[in-house]
Amino acid sequence: MEKVGRIVRVAGPLVVAEKMGGSRMFDVVQVSEMHLMGEIIEFKGDLASIQVYEETGGIGVGEPVYPEGEPLTVELGPGLLGSIYDGIQRPLDAIYENIGDYITRGVSAAALDREKKWDFMPLVKEGGRVEAGDIIGMVQETELIKHYIMTPHGISGIIKKIGQGQFTVEDIIAVVDTAKGEAGISMIQKWPVRKARPYRQKYNPDTPLFTGQRVIDMFFPLARGGTACVPGPFGSGKTVIQHQLAKWVDAEVIIYIGCGERGNEMTDVLMEFPELVDPKSGVPLMRRTVLIANTSNMPVAAREASVYTGITMAEYFRDMGYSVALMADSTSRWAEAMREISGRLEEMPGEEGYPAYLGARLASFYERAGVVKCLSSADERTGALSVIGAVSPPGGDLSDPVVQATLRVVKVFWSLEANLAYSRHFPAISWLNSYSLYNDVIRESITANVSEDYFDLQAEAMRLLEKESELEEIVRLVGIDALSGPDRVVMLTSRMLREDFLHQNAFHDIDTYSSIEKQHKMIDTIIYFYNRALDHLRMGANIRDIEEMGVRDRIARMKYVPKEEINKIDDIKKDIDSQFAAMIGEKS
């Protein structure tokens, strides 16, 4: 007889049930006759505390709890790309078709389409030996992505039979002779979300991951397989940056998690991504993207699960050998969900009421990022998973426990500042407070593949901006006229760096994305201007004339040069030379 528990307490998203002896921690259960999904998060004797992924209104004492006997899992297989799921992988499009405009309770729908047939291509032969993780075949899931079917965990042996042609995700595509007898393999696999998927070996990131965003790529670059965080007050541009990365980052698969944020922002992605094309392949971006949308008004327990659901899918694509990028907006909402559940459990609170394990949970989440040698006995493929989390501290205050715990684990910090956002300097990433700890590890790759002087330009631009902030103090007190000629050139150049380079409009068709080549040309031109200006100042040019030079206008418009014409940026240097020459000519 199936064991059934009985509810003894309901407090918001937390339900406590008795007679739960047979179940284990983190097992999934169904609560009440409405079959609301929940997960066991604490045991005291045979009393299980359950976080319920749906609203618990109308649930009372005495109602049944049905154990499922397995932990929270996601379905992995063809059909993930282009999908939109809630925090526990219920397909929102199917729910919309079946139920309507609102998410009502107790609905369930298969995460992967059971009817759809995929064209399966075997990549191993009958009689060959396979181990867990070995690729046995492939489905061209979208124009962009070949979905490799891997031998599921726990299976190894000799391929007895393998099919080719049209199959649904549940059809058996291969039979393996294992030590324990025959095992059928279908294209669908399940994986418990709270458990990181295994790999053979982890490497240190060593290649840059370009994003097309100038302040990031030139100043605070990300590495493939790396981690980054974007903290900032409301309205400072966290979501726009995350969307920009999802659009333009040089990764093959994107997992975008809207965790406790706005419904309209997910709609925005859903409407825009099918229209936008990948700059390299020309294919709509949606074909490489999976969306997880557990918006702020959806149940908090499912929000808590959403980041795990997302990162498990990301690991799955990583295991195929892809470079995957995951964005989570916002990890603060995830932390708040943890806090709420922990409060209901009456756990001992840590800082600001967050549970004491906040730091550990954040760390183990970001730890699932990395460059790995994928599990396989047959090939040496590597995959990468890069993770970028937004953080929303109260009042933008960086002493917030979530920010602090995040900074302890991530390697890149893009600090968004309210003041920059108010003056509409976007992206509002502070050039003074942000950092990237990847500069050293990607140095070799960048000097070899981008340019020899990337780091020199970066350092020089940084130096100028830092100098500017010092000089600004003086200007504020005594006025610009008090500055020396060279200092005024610093002020002028820094302003160019800020307005004509760092400032980047996400909503401008051309400016939204800059290739690294274009970025390099732009910054090189500005630094060239700086050096020529200093030279000519020394030769007797008047600072006021330099400040009024016509070429400034061309520099300001570099960002709007379309990608086919970026060589025209090189011509600006000639303009700079000739205008300086003319200036000196006039003098003599």
């Binding site: 499009d93 919309y96 405009d101 309205g235 008004n297 969900a337 009421g353 309210a418 003056s423």
Partner: protein, 469 residues
Amino acid sequence: MLKEYRSIISISGPLLLVEGVEGAKYEELVEIRLDDGSIRNGRVLEVDRDHALVQVFEGTSGIDLENTRVRFMGRGAHMYLSPDILGKVFTGLGKPKTENDRIIAEKSLDINGSPINPYARDYPNEFIQTGISTIDGLNTLVRGQKLPVFSGSGLPHNRIAAQIARQSAVLGKKEEFAVVFVAIGITFEESQYFINDFKKTGAINRSVLVLNLADDPAIERIATPRVGLTCAEYLAFEKDMHVLVILTDMTNYCEALKEVSAARKEIPGRRGYPGYLYTDLATIYERAGRIKGRKGSITQIPILTMPEDDKTHPIPDLTGYITEGQIILSRSLHKKRISPPVDVLPSLSRLKDKGIGEGKTREDHADTFNQLYAAYARGKEVQELAVILGEAALTDIDKIYYKFAEDFENQYISQGEYENRTIEETLDLGWRLLSVFPRAELKRVRDEFLDKYLARFKKDEDNQEGPGA
């Protein structure tokens, strides 16, 4: 038959603990009958074995342990609805205010609603002309947006909200609209100000009023916005109307929530507000938007007064984290008699980009607003500088910025309570103000627009000599 219990074992703040209860459900509606026969309403906050924790909307004064009887109603709080709610007045719990406000219900809906499936949403992108330059030009409102007003005590937020309600129109369209006005703990005068304004314009017949005033029960305020939004969802998504919801004052809502949380002895988050304030507010603010295939929409203008004018206070802070921008009012502009005193720099409409431009407002809109912002920001900096150094120390170009910031406040921000500017008027006004700058300063505007528009307004400047020219 519903069973009645006379087993209240403790009363603390707005909460009752009832024992010996069978089958009570979380979130269930409760009726409390006092000794004098009066009835109060409550809802179940928690059930624990045979104990039920009940929050009483009208407060617990007068409730005693011996004689008060409690009934569990077997359902959650509902709002009774029909198209006749237009023109009617309801209490903060959704009951008809007077006999005249009774309706014959066509259906009833749970006031908590259900989350809109993000996949079902349609992106808000239809420009609403409010006739107010600081909104239309700089913080454009679109249908289905939630755009709060962050105000302070004594600032004219009601005036702005009423002006928006009065003047809002979608260009070139005559469609069914409705206003849901939700008063949360505001004074009688304040609420009367709106009602009189609706009466004057005739909007009253297209309005639903949900009123919890300052002397109404405080805990009831937890239900009040939900009642209003349930009406709005019904009108928008079942009756195809474009609904504007005004929620004022959300600060009072948050105080009520705080009171309940404190009575439950929950671990408080920042400044004593419950840790789940963000999520709770989201379940209100997210009830705005458009739905694919439905004609209607819900646009929300929540108003809140920032305690001590502090934007980092949890109420404005968490609101800003949920809404799609914010209109912030400035006390210093108000003192300068600039009205409406919209603090342009920190105000923002996040959905403006989808609602402006060619075919919606005008092709040059995006560039000019970027330029106006930048110029005003610099103008404000220059003004600060001038305070320290004296105006004489400013460079020529800075002097222009200085003057621009002044003109911008007096001509662009400031406008009459009944002045209804078209979007063309607003955009042209922007150009006229920008035309004092040398062309090279207008970096945020595309050349084609400078060619096309600047010349029109530059003419009158011809005899004046531009600096640096």
